[in-house]
């Protein structure tokens, strides 16, 4: 935490600041909403199943607690074809590079759900072998607690993710920001 905050530039910044590349007009907003709707209702998941939560994942994906009604029916076991990385179960230090590599292999736009407490925070395995939450490795959008979470809880988390996806800004053509392109 900084002991002093630099207040020299504050008076120069206007009260409401907009950034030009993030400003959306009316039609862009419509496109964004449309793409958001399409993307949230067709999340293709990569079930990175490791442990006990996998059993609840099987229940969620099956006929009774149907995840297909939310559009997320299709599990694609190739990261190239998936947009939702569903990390189900404990990730330990040996598995961590595998998870990171799979996340990197997925194409944008992509989201990550940490399914279960082991993925969210390491669960009660606070020891030498377990990664204390996958957010140490990959950015996570939604955390679903539970050991294992009930299927209804999982669906709740999925709906939360769908709201997040809808609210995000989607563009027809995603351009890399200029600084990143120049830097690489």
């Amino acid at each position: 935490m900084p002991s002093e905050i630099d207040r020299s530039g504050i008076s120069a910044v206007p009260a409401v600041a907009t950034r030009r590349d993030e400003a959306t007009g009316f039609f862009q907003g419509l496109v964004s909403k449309g793409l958001g709707w399409a993307r949230k209702n067709s999340l293709w998941q990569y079930p990175f199943v490791t442990a006990c939560c996998g059993m609840e994942y099987m229940s969620v994906a099956s006929a009774r607690y149907d995840i297909a009604r939310f559009g997320a029916e299709v599990p694609r076991f190739s990261p190239r074809q998936a947009d939702l990385l569903l990390v189900v179960g404990t990730v330990n230090c040996k598995q961590a590079p595998v998870l990171k590599r799979i996340y990197e292999q997925m194409a944008e736009p992509k989201w990550v759900i940490a399914f279960g407490v082991c993925a969210s925070s390491g669960g009660f395995y606070d020891n030498y072998a377990t990664v204390q939450g996958i957010d140490r490795l990959v950015p996570v959008d939604v955390y679903i607690p539970g050991c294992p979470p009930r299927p209804e809880q999982v669906l709740d988390g999925l709906i939360l993710l769908q709201k997040k996806v809808q609210a995000q800004q989607h563009k027809l053509i995603d351009r890399i920001p200029a600084q990143l392109a120049a830097g690489k």
Binding site: C93, K94, P97, D126, N127, Y128, A129
Partner: protein, 174 residues
């Protein structure tokens, strides 16, 4: 449990085997000297009256503070004669090599690798002596009592593995 098996083993290897006090639940336990464990196991498997044909459950215990520090425990059982026996082998920290019983039962393979990975006990004669659970670059042996529960490991660089079969690891074991 099998008194008869313990007696037979004592009779066959009188200088290397000692009886342990009868444990809770009536388990029959004998202490076997480290050097003769493979011979004792072969005898127990092949003797027609004993026939411990199933691969045993092998594990190790770290009695930190006692000397000898480690103990390798073999829980033998026989499906045909339906009896069980436990062999305990004391292993001092100064000499962590225990003859492998993989030649007697192939199924002892992974149990011995587990003992190596978790405790550091080596098994000369084992066909594939590498770690079982932890990754190759892991430093230390986690189940030892002096390894902290929340031990953190130094970071290792991501590696490209040229030969998927051999995998990474010290060249000496290839």
């Amino acid at each position: 449990m099998s008194q008869a098996a313990a007696e037979a083993l004592l009779a066959r290897f009188p200088s290397d085997v000692t009886r342990a006090p009868v444990g809770p639940g009536g388990d029959d336990v004998v202490f076997v000297k480290k050097e003769r464990i493979a011979d004792a196991c072969r005898f127990l498997k092949e003797d027609p009256a004993l026939r411990f044909n199933m691969a045993p459950y092998v594990t190790a215990v770290d009695y930190l503070g006692q000397e000898p520090r480690f103990e390798v425990v073999y829980n033998l059982y026989s499906s045909s004669l339906n009896h069980r026996l436990r062999l305990r082998v004391k292993v001092p920290e100064s000499d962590l090599a225990v003859p492998s019983v993989c030649g007697v039962w192939r199924g002892a393979d992974w149990f011995e690798r587990y003992c190596y990975d978790m405790y550091g006990i080596t098994f000369p004669g084992h066909p594939d002596p590498r770690r079982l659970f932890m990754y190759e670059e892991f430093v230390g042996h986690p189940l030892r009592k002096d390894y902290p529960l929340r031990g953190r490991q130094p970071l290792t660089p991501e590696r490209e593995v040229a030969d998927l079969f051999r995998g990474p690891g010290p060249e000496s074991r290839d």
